[in-house]
Amino acid sequence: MDEWGYLRPETPTFFGMLQSLLAVCLLLLPFVGFLTVSLASRRLAGPLAVGLTALGLIGSIGLAVSLPEQPITLQADWATLSGISFGIGFRVDGLAGLMLVIVHGVALLVQVYSLSYLLDEPRLSRYFAYLQLFIGAMLGIVLAGNLLVMYAFWELVGLASYLLIGFYADRPAASQAAKKAFLMNRVGDMGMLIGIFLTYYYYDTLDLAQLNHTDLYAVAPTAVGLCLFMGCVGKSAQFPLLTWLPDAMEGPTPVSALLHAATMVAAGVFLLARIQPLLSPDARAVIVLIGTITTFWGGYSALFQTDIKKVLAFSTVSQLGLMVAAMGMGNVGGALFHLLTHAFFKAGLFLSAGSVIHAVHTQDMRQMGGLRRALPVTFVAYTVCAAALAGVPLFSGFLSKEAILGGAFAWAETAGISLAAGVPVLLLLSSGLTALYMARQWRLIFLGQYQHEATPLSGVHEADGLMRVPVVILALLSVAFWFSVNPFSAHGSWVFGILPLPAEAELPWLPPVSVLLVLLGGWFGVRLREPNPTRLYVQLSVQYGFLDRAYQWYIITPAIKAATLLNRADQRLVDGAVNGAGIGGVVLAHLVHAVDRFGVDGLVNGAAWLAGRLGRLTRSVQNGRVQSYITVAVVGLLIVLWWIL
């Protein structure tokens, strides 16, 4: 190992050194931005942040394009505790390069959008500073070379998300949501921390490069994989910790776009990509199961939401479930490809939704309708992004979903678990569900009659260019052409030049069936009439499977009760003991006081009293009468004489 703090690239060529330097600069840039932007004035903060991120985007594209075959790694000793050295390490490979570009790209567009969206916000510089912190933390996860560093930035992402979700701190709902997001993430992070400890316990290293030498180990213990996966469950809002994500919609809309597309929820998926060798078959089965449940759960929950952003939030949950399931199947390429396409179209959807909210001043979709004429640009962008999300051919989502579904069917054939065949079918159905709820949302917003009374339709108009341009760019990036020249398959495209190609089953029926499902879902979504919101199946969707209520009943209320009980026990027992000791002390003090008073003081006073008595006695002799003196003298003389003689 090297000297303290000396970062040494393992490929010591000049070019390699330059790339390492670039990676470190990219990581430091947002943190520098965090400090400078937070000190900048309101007007300067936004452009400064945008400029920094643009610089980062250029740098990361440069880095990603010029990546060598071997990953660039940087190592340095960080702390040595009782002979065990913990390193600080960074690692830049194809995966990290891809993530760098996604994070910077989405972050740049979101910040440009924020310039206009949050124009009237008084705490603008703080907002952009938090965004920089968020980006920096995410870059730290992406570039981390060992699990310890990753965990540090992981927590930083949690902090930044807390700050941003609760950005409107004067709204109680926002601060509640921020707290909820933070606490639920903590649950997952605790598991991840234990997982890191277990990793160190079994392998004596936390370095990702060393952990990736799969041939060193036979089969990883299941507990390691599951504990690390818990971190992903929290960050990527998997079942059962998914309820923080819809609440996180309380944050500003551009933050939602960033959080859902690039910076936060992607972290969990990225973690799974990094720890692939540590996942045992049992752990993988659990991950696939959780991912599938999440996909379906999120999809169903999105179905009857009335808040425009909540539909998108649950669609994110659903898509993340899809990615996690793919990760569990070992289909890293498919999952990351979906992460890439999802980042663009989901950011596009959120920013479009932001434009809609900006125009009509409500988030309730039931009050919207008929906006396609008033907001033509948003309408087109929204349609493109929604089509990509639903998996319509010619759009990017179709390609990545096919990669995942194909991989899922291939996995089901080889998995050897009897229920495994159900997983890809469920995933396929969920993608039909995606089309259904997106079509419903699309219809509610853009078709039909405008119903919001507070804002007349004549007052509804497109936002300015700063908000339109990012939306349009993101919509353009949701088209299949950028990812693959062949719009029906991503095989042989540049994406799988970077990412590992998923093992796909030769299923000629799969694309037609999925297209059919999408069209069916879309048709139902457009044609379906709104059901009565009091029906159980609607409530089940709107309250996302009563998960929050279940938590309230089974976890929060008992926890509060237990806390009250403990509090009472504390008051009775501990405080009682303390108070008893106090009372005992007072009693003892009284006792001592009495002893003092009657014993010690008594002795002193008694001595004084005795002296007084003696004095009075002797004084009585000195009575001033000459004759009594003489009497005494004579008696004394007689005694002396009697004594002598």
């Binding site: 000459v626 004759q627 003489i630 004579v634």
Partner: protein
């Protein structure tokens, strides 16, 4: 000269001394007390003279008795002067009323 038993002298002397002492202790008037003192001194003189017969020169005891008389006279003169002053000052010569020493 017929000698008298010396113990008779001693008895008279002792009786005289005792009477003088009693007067000194019991009487309240200063002048009477002084008279008691004179009695005691004279009792001593009797003893001195009585014991003087055993002296080979028979002179020492008598000489001392004479000396005591002189001293007693002087003492009486001084004491009477004091008593006079006391009386002038306190308007009384009763000893039990003179408790100025006590203060």
């Amino acid at each position: 000269m017929q000698s008298v038993d010396s113990h008779l002298f001693l008895i008279v002397g002792a009786a005289l001394f005792s009477i003088g002492l009693a007067v000194v202790l019991l009487k309240r008037h200063a002048i009477v007390v002084l008279m008691g003192i004179e009695l005691m001194l004279n009792a001593v003189n009797i003893n001195l003279v009585a014991f003087s017969q055993y002296d080979p020169d028979r002179i020492q005891g008598q000489m001392l008795a004479l000396f005591v008389m002189v001293v007693a006279a002087a003492e009486s003169a001084v004491a009477l002067a004091i008593v006079l002053q006391v009386y002038r000052h306190f308007r009384t010569a009763q000893l039990d009323e003179l408790n100025e020493l006590r203060q």
